[in-house]
């Protein structure tokens, strides 16, 4: 079949151009939405409808944020130190959950005996809320980085296991049979068919795990910390500085969004074969 490649390329260029325009349009709409939200907030506070001591205006929060970049009071650390402390806790818990949880889930999903052996234990541990582990964790390992990372680990671990387990269970039997008739051994089929076909679900699990890890941060830093965004929020409450609390919240939100975007581009790369027909 002869293909009119020139024509196709022209069409693709056209489509790309339209795509770019649409992207700019959607970005502008999103930015306008945020701006309008902040504007209403500012007006409500400045008009005196809400007590400014309770809810500071966005401009005040921006000031505090800029101030915190270079200044230590009231919590004793500049903002960057808090951010790094929190990232260290959250990411060490998150990555250990990935490293242990995903292989475990894949393993359980593929080998029936592993499933029968491990699943009951897992099902017992799964419903326990991560926060409930805190007292035990403190007894075991005190209040250092390891203790906090362990609590994060519990929240991130469960979605990693469940999604990898379900993902690999959903592997198409036809694709397994194809490999079998070619003479592939079970382990070869596991890594050539099982793992790639589980990947979309695994990534969905990682996404949930990342969200859990980052949002449990404040709870983990309640354990007693001397730095961290959760700690900053705690301290802001103690000294009755809602602007500090909100700065902490905003930074947590922003970093969460950045991490999520990083994960998205990683996912886009690994699942580049997944396109709609």
């Amino acid at each position: 079949m002869p293909l009119d490649t020139k024509h196709l390329e022209a069409l693709q260029q056209q489509w790309k151009g339209k795509q770019r325009k649409d992207n700019i349009k959607y970005f502008m709409m999103g930015a306008t939405g945020i701006f309008v939200f902040l504007l209403i907030w500012q007006l409500v506070v400045k008009s005196g409808l809400v007590n400014e001591k309770m809810l500071p205006a966005p401009t005040t929060i921006l000031q505090t944020l800029l101030y915190k970049v270079n200044n230590k009071p009231p919590d004793g650390n500049v903002l960057l130190v808090n951010i790094l402390a929190s990232l260290q806790v959250a990411l060490s818990g998150f990555f250990s959950a990935i490293i242990i949880g995903i292989p475990l889930g894949l393993f359980m999903g593929w080998w029936k005996y592993a499933d029968r052996f491990i699943r009951p234990i897992f099902e017992l541990i799964r419903p326990i809320p991560p926060i409930a582990w805190i007292p035990l964790v403190v007894v075991w390992m005190g209040i250092g980085l390891k203790a906090k990372a362990l609590i994060i680990f519990f929240t991130a671990f469960v979605p990693c296991v469940i999604n990898s387990y379900t993902g690999i269970k959903l592997t198409s039997q036809t694709l397994i049979n194809v490999s079998k008739t070619f003479g592939a051994k079970n382990f070869e089929i596991f890594y050539k068919v099982g793992i790639p076909s589980a990947l979309p679900m695994v990534f969905a699990g990682i996404r949930v795990a990342l969200g859990n890890a980052w949002s449990t941060l404040v709870a983990a830093e309640m354990l007693a910390a001397s730095a961290g965004l959760g700690y900053m929020i705690q301290l802001g409450r103690t000294v009755a500085r809602p602007d500090i609390v909100i700065v902490g919240m905003v930074v947590i939100g922003a970093i969460g969004a950045v991490l999520s975007a990083l994960l998205s581009s990683l996912e886009k790369y690994f699942l580049r074969w997944k396109s709609v027909r």
Partner: protein, 252 residues
């Protein structure tokens, strides 16, 4: 029986093949030979056990009794080259077209240069060179089915099994792909068992047709189709064959 097979050695020998699932007898003592480079179509009423029959041949199921010999030794996917084109689309969606075609060859651990050479040959034969770096999801369903057929032929299989691979396509695409299969079969000299519903297509493709009985499946009749190729579906002889087979699989 078959005069056309005199000069061709026996490639596959099915002996007393029987398969039971519990009390349910699905395949009942089937015995037949297939010669090298033969194109055999298997037809039979719906639900007669055609797919079970194929699954026994590929060792996805193990036969209850009897055996399948390839070149005189019991069939073993690890040792023999068996290729299967399934009813459902079965390209691996995370591999590109060329990686899909190389998939079986890599499992068989062929040397790299040989894999490359065979993949190129198949891409040329099937006109897929332009799409070698595409993913199956980016192509049409019929193109995906062509990838799978290419993947099977790339194995240069001792036995190529096809289970209604065109079930979901319209008539035009079916005849187009069937001509493709005939071309590949002639070019590469494979031995093919093709399970098919459509009797017209069976007569169009086959050198020999095996007609199965209702469940439990047994061989009702074997029929040599000695029409010249390319076959003309309007030829009176063609229609005669078609009507004869239709009569044979009627169970009502």
């Amino acid at each position: 029986m078959a005069e056309i097979n005199k000069d061709r050695p026996v490639k596959i020998s099915v002996q007393n093949l029987t398969k039971r699932f519990g009390d349910l007898l699905v395949l009942d003592n089937m015995t037949f030979d297939i010669h090298e480079n033969e194109f055999v179509c298997v037809v039979g009423p719906t639900g007669c056990g055609k797919t079970t029959f194929l699954n026994c041949l590929t060792r996805i199921y193990h036969p209850t009794e009897g055996d399948l010999l390839i070149d005189g030794t019991p069939a073993d996917p690890a040792k023999h080259n068996i290729s299967f084109v399934f009813q459902e689309p079965s390209a691996l969606p995370w591999l590109t077209v060329e990686e899909n075609i190389a998939y079986g060859l890599k499992i068989k651990k062929l040397p790299k240069d040989q894999i490359e050479q065979r993949v190129n040959q198949i891409l040329d034969l099937m006109g897929l060179q332009t799409f070698r770096k595409s993913y199956p999801g980016e192509l049409s369903v019929s193109a995906e089915q062509r990838i799978i057929i290419g993947r099977s032929f790339a194995m240069q299989p001792d036995l190529l099994l096809m289970d209604e691979p065109y079930g979901q396509m319209d008539v035009k695409v079916r005849f187009y792909l069937e001509d493709e299969v005939i071309r590949l079969w002639k070019e590469l000299g494979s031995t093919i068992i093709f399970i098919i519903h459509n009797i017209e297509e069976a007569v169009y493709l086959a050198e020999r047709i095996i007609i199965l009985s209702n469940k439990p499946a047994n061989i009702k009749e074997e029929l040599i189709i000695d029409l010249p190729r390319p076959r003309n579906i309007a030829d009176p002889k063609f229609i005669e064959y078609r009507n004869y087979i239709t009569d044979k699989i009627k169970w009502w």
